[in-house]
């Protein structure tokens, strides 16, 4: 039996099971759809997600945030001392890229406190660290002029677009001594009065405050996730009074989180700049790329994809989504899923470190190749994978915005 044929028969069986169940309910109170993974021990899979993908990711990011804070401290001190600030700035940029890429890996599994409500246990902590696409470079410059960042209640009195990795990106990679704010946002004379050196100094001060905030939040996130009985433990070992009442509920939570690949990566990070949806300013929307100042849009997508692939394939001896599929006879479906993800990663590799806006202008098909491969993967996730494993596709991903 070839791959396609195997998948089709599997799908027929899954649909028939659902139909028989609903018919058997007499069209009154629908009975729960039978669990195709009944008897399968989901513990190793859930533990793998909690430990390998999330806990380790939060720990690595926390450490990277501390490094970023250190580099920004050095940059600020060098500016204050009149030393070689260009070298320190470059070091800070490297540290930002390292932290940013680690965060992109954790981004794809927004579970528990990192996620936004109404996600289970969601506290929107993710936005405190990285609020893209809610970013506002001009608001940051306003805060620079009036030194809002120095207020004791800066993080409480301002919104997430005033701080986080996105704000630091603008401060480190943006126009540095210039601002593009309209006059209703910043009086040009107020900006000019600071002088180039004054602006740079405040950028460094601002970035350091923002980084310190990230370090604090990253530590809380990791602690909340990992301590005994914390969110990670609850995911790995669900209990009725925990965030996830059962292994199946936890699996559903992980599955729903994977649709970051659909809504954020495919549609927002690629589809919108490519002009495939919600692009209102022209045929394409390069201004909607993620990380425009650092030119990091494609590398971020690649980081997202590699993490999704490890969740799909399993890592460090933990089973992955493909193992769950194999248990119900869906080996071929799992292979197809991995193949689509590999194709997307290869397409991202082909673009490499090239400036995304330039690629969009000169060879948009290279970006489209990433998008289309991801679409193949997400079509499988919300179609056959969801049916075969009897999982629910999140409402915002149920349709196809293309």
């Amino acid at each position: 039996m070839d791959s396609a044929a195997g998948r089709s028969w599997l799908l027929v069986a899954a649909i028939a099971l659902i139909a028989v169940t609903l018919r058997a309910s007499g069209c009154t109170e629908p009975e729960p759809v039978p669990d195709p993974l009944e008897g399968y021990d989901l513990g190793p899979f859930l533990t793998g997600v909690a430990d390998v993908h999330v806990d380790a990711g939060y720990a690595a990011f926390r450490d990277a945030a501390v490094s970023l804070e250190g580099e920004l401290t050095s940059w600020l001190e060098t500016l204050q001392d009149g030393g070689d600030d260009a070298a320190r700035l470059e070091s800070a940029r490297i540290a930002w890229r390292a932290a940013f890429m680690l965060w992109q890996q954790t981004e794809v599994l927004q579970l528990g406190p990192a996620a936004a409500p109404p996600s289970v246990g969601g506290e929107a902590i993710r936005d405190e660290i990285y609020s893209w696409p809610t970013v506002n470079d001009c608001l940051v410059d306003q805060g620079l002029v009036d030194q809002r960042y120095a207020d004791a209640d800066f993080f409480e009195a301002n919104l997430v677009n005033a701080y986080g990795l996105d704000a630091i990106e603008w401060l480190l990679f943006g126009t540095l001594t210039e601002t593009f704010c309209p006059s209703q946002a910043i009086e040009p004379s107020d900006w000019d009065a600071l002088g180039d050196d004054g602006v740079l100094l405040r950028r460094a001060e601002y970035a350091l405050v923002a980084a310190t905030g990230i370090v604090d939040v990253a530590a809380v996130l990791h602690t909340d996730w990992g301590i005994d009985g914390g969110v990670g433990d609850q995911l790995a070992s669900p209990t009725e009074d925990g965030l996830w009442a059962s292994d199946r509920a936890a699996l559903q939570g992980v599955f729903a989180a994977l649709f970051y690949l659909e809504t954020s990566v495919k549609d927002r990070k690629l589809g919108r700049p490519l002009g495939l949806l919600d692009c209102t300013t022209g045929d394409t929307c390069p201004e909607d790329f993620e990380g425009p100042w650092a030119g990091s849009a494609v590398s971020a997508v690649r980081a997202n994809l590699t993490q999704i692939r490890t969740i799909a394939a399993g890592a460090n001896d933990a089973p992955g989504i493909v193992d769950l599929l194999a248990h119900v006879g869906g080996q071929a479906l799992g292979d197809d899923l991995l193949a689509a993800l590999d194709e997307a990663i290869a397409a991202a590799d082909a673009v490499g470190d090239a400036d995304p806006a330039t690629v969009l202008a000169d060879s948009p098909q290279d970006l489209l190749a990433i998008h289309d491969a991801i679409k193949r993967a997400t079509d499988l996730l919300k179609g056959e994978v969801a049916i075969v494993l009897a999982l629910t596709v999140p409402a915002e991903s149920a349709g196809d915005n293309d």
Binding site: A4, R7, S8, L11, V12, I15, A16, I18, A19, L22, R23, C27, P133, T134, V135, N136, D137, C138, L139, Q142, G143, R148, D153, E156, A157, N158, L159, N161, A162, C181, P182, Q184, A185, G383, E384, I387, A398, G399
Partner: protein, 464 residues
């Protein structure tokens, strides 16, 4: 193959759901709001202008809802920018904007993509209570009650006030000037004020009352004019149409209620949760007949949420359908008996419409009571509190626009004195305010003949 298999799922699992009028054995004589024209034999139902205004109200709410992320992502509006964009909907110009896409989407897609695909020559403010010069039972320049602000003398002045408030907050928001909630944190969205007004909810709910409910009950379904509403001509076809002025007036009343043409075939859950039904199996939704708007959806929600069963969806549906059937069956001006029968159907429909609206006010009174009691606990949400209060206030303002209201003007004024101008927040006398809300709830229930079992307890629980 996989796609075709997926398409089979609904067929495999579909259950028969034919309940002509949910909860009512006395089904109307026809199951859809479709009536043959005596002039050409085609369907004579037409209310595209009402659908158009429902779409504008929907899109206005979406626009306001999207304002916060626009500002957060770097829009710095100058004075007049925000008001101008709000006026796009309020003063809609079909000549310049009819070709633009509206904002209603469904999973099946919609038949009408642009505003112009739905209707032409319509706006919102022109039909706001007080602005439509004929047929209104009160002089809204002097009789408008419920919003205690010296700048507000008419329904339009209230709408204009809110547009300027939204603009003022938007300009301040863009430069980091956020209103603060009682804890000192920025309010959750630019359309929420520090005092607990959700201007988006207030605007939308008020427009549903001051346009849809007002026009429906006080214009098209009223009979106080010699040649308007139910006294419209029923002899000749309107110019270029296959229905009479009276048939069209009745349809327009139905259109403002917002039901689909097959409303009576669906359960309360289906109407409340789905609201769009591909009745003709075309594969997409016709907004002119297959999409439920505003009041008709709220009626289903209240029926569903009643402790002691109500069936206002059925009552309204039966009234509208049977009344229209009387018109379709007559071949000329109505006899006195036919007019009396028509007025009875009108009274049934309007009574159900008012009851559902009143029950919706009570639903939000209960939500506000619960919010007030949650102040200081982990479960408290200022955003929810502002939203619920504004839904309550916005819907409650609409009750005055029905000439057949069971709520007399003095009681209406009392209702708004009790509801007040803002929720009681942390630091206020919440217990006293909640007691006022319970008084308002009981008075409203009594006047509208609502079953006490549905009103809720002293904590806002156990009822709507």
């Amino acid at each position: 193959m996989s796609r075709s298999l997926l398409l089979l799922i609904p067929l495999l699992v579909a259950c028969p759901t034919v309940d002509p009028v949910p909860g009512d054995d006395d089904a109307p004589s026809t199951y859809t709001y479709t009536f043959e024209s005596r002039f050409d034999g085609e369907d004579s139902v037409a209310y595209s202008g009402q659908t158009f205004r429902h779409v504008l109200i929907h899109d206005l709410k979406s626009w306001i809802g999207g304002l916060t992320p626009r500002l957060d992502e770097g829009w710095f509006p100058a004075e007049g920018d925000v008001v101008a964009e709000l006026n796009f909907f309020l003063e809609f110009d079909g000549d310049t904007s009819g070709g633009l896409e509206h904002g209603i989407t469904t999973t099946l897609g919609v038949d009408q993509v642009t505003y112009g695909d739905i209707a032409s020559g319509k706006d919102l403010l022109g039909k706001l209570a007080g602005n439509d010069p004929v047929g209104q039972h009160a002089t809204w320049a002097t009789d408008f009650v419920g919003w205690d602000d010296p700048l507000v003398t008419t329904p339009e002045s209230l709408v204009r006030l809110w547009t300027y408030q939204i603009e003022d907050q938007a300009i301040a928001w863009s430069t980091g000037g956020y209103p603060l909630d009682p804890t000192g944190a920025p309010v959750p969205a630019v359309y929420v004020t520090a005092e607990g007004h959700d201007l988006n909810q207030l605007m939308q709910k008020f427009l549903l009352g001051a346009i849809a409910y007002s026009q429906g009950t006080d214009d098209y379904l009223d009979d106080d004019l010699a040649d308007g509403g139910l006294n419209s001509d029923h002899e000749a076809a309107r110019d270029g149409a296959n229905n009479t002025a009276l048939e069209h007036a009745w349809d327009e009343g139905f259109g403002y209620f917002g039901a689909t043409r097959d409303y009576g075939l669906h359960t309360d859950d289906e109407i409340a949760d789905m609201g769009a039904f591909d009745a003709d199996g075309s594969g997409s939704i016709d907004l002119l007949s297959e999409y439920a708007f505003g009041h008709s959806v709220n009626a289903a929600k209240r029926d569903r949420g009643s402790v002691e069963a109500t069936d206002w969806t059925a009552q309204a549906w039966t009234g509208f359908v049977e009344g229209r059937a009387i018109l379709a069956a007559s071949n000329g001006p109505l006899t006195d008996e036919e007019m009396a029968a028509l007025q009875l159907r009108r009274d049934d429909a309007v009574e159900a419409w008012e009851a559902a609206l009143g029950a919706t006010v009570i639903h939000y009174i209960n939500e506000v009571i619960v919010d007030g009691e949650a102040i200081g606990t982990d479960g408290y949400s200022f955003a929810d509190h502002a939203k619920h209060w504004s839904e309550m206030k916005g819907f409650a303002l609409g009750l005055q626009f029905n000439p057949r209201s069971k709520l007399a003007p003095d009681r209406f004024a009392q209702l708004h004195e009790l509801i007040g101008m803002a929720p009681a927040l942390a630091g206020d006398d919440v217990a006293a305010y909640n007691a006022d809300l319970i008084t308002a709830r009981d008075m409203l229930g009594d006047r509208l003949d609502l079953d006490p079992a549905n009103l809720g307890d002293d904590h806002g629980l156990g009822g709507w």
